[in-house]
Symmetry: C2
Subunit: 589 residues, 2 copies
Amino acid sequence: MLRMSTLFLRTLREDPVDAEVPSHRLLQRAGYIRRVAPGIFTWLPLGWRTYRNVENVIRTEMDAAGFQEMHFPALLPREPYERTNRWSEYGDTLFRLQDRRKGDYLLGPTHEELFTLAVKSEFSSYKDLPISLYQIQTKYRDEARPRAGILRGREFVMKDSYSFDIDDEGLANSYRQHRDAYIRTFDRLGLDYVIVSAMSGAMGGSRSEEFLARSEVGEDTFVECPACGYAANTEAVTTLAPAEYNRALGEPHIEETPETSTIEALVSYAQDALPRPDRAWQASDTLKNVVLLVTDPDGASRPLVIGVPGDRAIDEKRLEAALAPATVSAFTDEDFEQYPVLVPGYIGPQVLGKDSESGIEYLVDPRVVAGSAWVTGANEPGRHVFDLVMGRDFRADAVIEAAEVRQGDPCPVCGQPLAIERGIEIGHIFQLGRKYAEALGLQVLDENGELVTVTMGSYGIGVSRAVAAIAEQSHDETGLCWPVAVAPADVHVVVMGKNPDVLAAAEELCEQAEAEGVRVLVDDRTGVSAGVKFNDAELLGIPTILVVGRGLKDGVVELRDRASGDAEDVPVSEILARLLDRSAVVRTD
Amino acid sequence: MLRMSTLFLRTLREDPVDAEVPSHRLLQRAGYIRRVAPGIFTWLPLGWRTYRNVENVIRTEMDAAGFQEMHFPALLPREPYERTNRWSEYGDTLFRLQDRRKGDYLLGPTHEELFTLAVKSEFSSYKDLPISLYQIQTKYRDEARPRAGILRGREFVMKDSYSFDIDDEGLANSYRQHRDAYIRTFDRLGLDYVIVSAMSGAMGGSRSEEFLARSEVGEDTFVECPACGYAANTEAVTTLAPAEYNRALGEPHIEETPETSTIEALVSYAQDALPRPDRAWQASDTLKNVVLLVTDPDGASRPLVIGVPGDRAIDEKRLEAALAPATVSAFTDEDFEQYPVLVPGYIGPQVLGKDSESGIEYLVDPRVVAGSAWVTGANEPGRHVFDLVMGRDFRADAVIEAAEVRQGDPCPVCGQPLAIERGIEIGHIFQLGRKYAEALGLQVLDENGELVTVTMGSYGIGVSRAVAAIAEQSHDETGLCWPVAVAPADVHVVVMGKNPDVLAAAEELCEQAEAEGVRVLVDDRTGVSAGVKFNDAELLGIPTILVVGRGLKDGVVELRDRASGDAEDVPVSEILARLLDRSAVVRTD
């Protein structure tokens, strides 16, 4: 039994100054967590109980799915990460250190390398596969902007699983098993989430989906089609090539367009000086060519030009995801000096492409389809070219998904308008393929005695983040409202007044409930006002609040549902049954 | 149910080359752990289950004692450790690193600072005390010589508790509660251990005891008195001042003793050239003065001379413990050049002491009592002084416990001969006192409204080390023999042969046992010989081995006790009851 009189807990009346989101604010105010350093937190007793409940739900579901738990160290030698190139690819995000012998170590951000090597050292035959292994473990990532409390920490707990199969069919099966186990897990945690298509990004691999808890404060943006159910992380949205596009009236023609280095100025000038017969010029009639500096993981830099319709911005996260593991930075004045062919404000695709004289890579948005005509730069200051046709007058090296996605864009599956939503990434499942197995030499003998490279999947749940995600979805203006499966207690008993009979009766009730398996938190503090006790009960967010006070002489206590606020007087004789009904104890199957 | 056919496990026939002790050898051979880097290990599924059983026993006992669990980060900012001086005092043992903003961090070796600050931030009154808080958490120490597998790792798990009291009496009470909880914990873990007096060492504080699991491979040496029960870590042994000692025959007299820079040469020369009338000269008649270089935590160095009876060596660990946090190194030839008063091989106490002309600190063994006469160096090459009397002819600045302790030395309590034993430190309890509270400003208001500094205790259990300690105490030449409380399963079912009826019957039996709560590991592998299966069963060390095979047609299975080897045929109808009897499931109260 937890007692407010002895619990290591002090609730805060004021919002902490550094708290940006409700979960961070409430978890601090309710005494669940405390900040130690940026992105590094301590769990106080109530928080730790909540965390452990979440962890237990996850572990139970992983075990039920037949995945085997093991445990790797967090302090890891450099060598395996060197072999997969992630020692450098991770950049500043990796915490690196040296031991007393000057050996290089890192704090594990994720454990693909170690799991791969573990299977390599134990297994050698196709008969050993498939196998799925997992751990629940502290991870470290030196985030540039740790934010929102435990939503994005630098030390956090992940459940990471890895599957090992002999072929792609096996991987598809393991992936499905994990997907199903994740659905059961997040359902049990009471989360409102959506499964979206995702980029596999720097992890390599093919199919990948994210589990996003719906939340306005989420860092992930995703699209959702109300018509057909399509859902994808913005980074992974595929753009529908338009059926309708501008056709050319004839050959391309260069026009004087002085001082039109912006799309806005160009459209305005064209409208005045070179009006279209049919309608007004629009930004989407122009082809904007954005120059960037791309740096590969080996440190080599090169210019890249991306052509997008003039009404669209480049979405930085989509761009990064599309180019990873390469990184992108702005093209500076000095860079332009090195490439005089690129005329700022007047760049056109006529001089671009790997096969062109400049050799500068040129990628285009999927809306730039073959046959479409554009107004774009003439590669001379103050001049643009009109009726430049993709496929006829210029070419691109490839298509890239880097333009912003907008509310109402057509769904790539059904064409209906997409909605844009925000979410918190609580899970991520990847079909990794053979990238890590190849890098680390994980092979087994197949049925014919031939060595084949093992096919892997990688699956993660943010365990500590899930606590925050649940808090984001389960709170109101007065405090937290935990689902019973994760709440630090089943019932919060508020003892009113100082009448010793009431205290004794409350105590007896609590003991009986605990004996039945109901997890009780009792506010047995004396010298604390009823108002303070109620405020704390609302703030802490235990699902059921039981008020033991004046009604006792009439044989009733008040039972309140924390989330709905519904309250009713319940005869003392019935209270145990009611509490059991509302407790995690009856839901452990 | 665990199945050998799918378990992530490969047992090894050969001992790993780097395994120094039985637990390390067997835990690796049985597939419980794997080495990732020096002192850094992975838990494979069976090892992780065993580890978690140990952790659960510890957690249950801590909770039962009313200690509250919370959880601190492992990655910690430098500042709190700077304030207690441990950022530098820990030396090379501390893993230090910088984040991307060049902020200094460390990997927590122990968490006194963080717990102290946590209580400071939440509590402010004597009414809030006492409180005991704990965590079960991964710790990091960059040991100079990680050895013996998980017995002394660089990444390991500790349960660390801290008590907070208003005064020393409260501390004594909290200390007793922890001591009792530790006794219950180690009893439940089935460990054979002894509680010994310990030095509090670098931790500061007063009373301190260690829980040592008896083991020949233990790094800790302790003395035990068979007569009165006194037990102490060698570092903490107090030496009984002898009632009998050599008396002087007269004034000190210097004798020529050429080429006698060793005690052996001196005794031999004296025996020949200057024989005693009553008996032969002994090494214990001489006073050996050992020069050392002492370095304080602030980096300042100074010479120190320690006088011990000539038959005793200095014990390095006792010396380090006595001088901590200062460190000790050898006095080099260059050092001697700086102090010409110190004549190597012929040093005598006449020129030593803080108040002497040399100012060199001089400490003596407790056997060097006032009135005792010694043969010792005359501070000139080739000369010794005889009949030099402590207190009359020389003085010491203080007494130091640094001489080796030997089997048969008198017990400091009862004077009977001591036995010397070895053990593995599995727990350590400290009365810390006010050192950390003072350094970090942890004060509360007392009954009179006065600020008082809080009094702390610190208590640790090596969780991962306990697994190894249990393995050290519970194995034989063929493998591990886990106590049922920590075993990864209750029963290891060996299915013999390929008869489908036998397989089906074994499967049914396993399912029934699991349904009753018995944790089953079944060796359901086909194409593996009986010999291999039996060897693996012996190696893995599950307490009960059940052989399902030929006897089945007569309605019996064989039940073996892994530890004793006792086997009997049990009717199938009785087997469930027998398994329940031998399982952890019936012992959870």
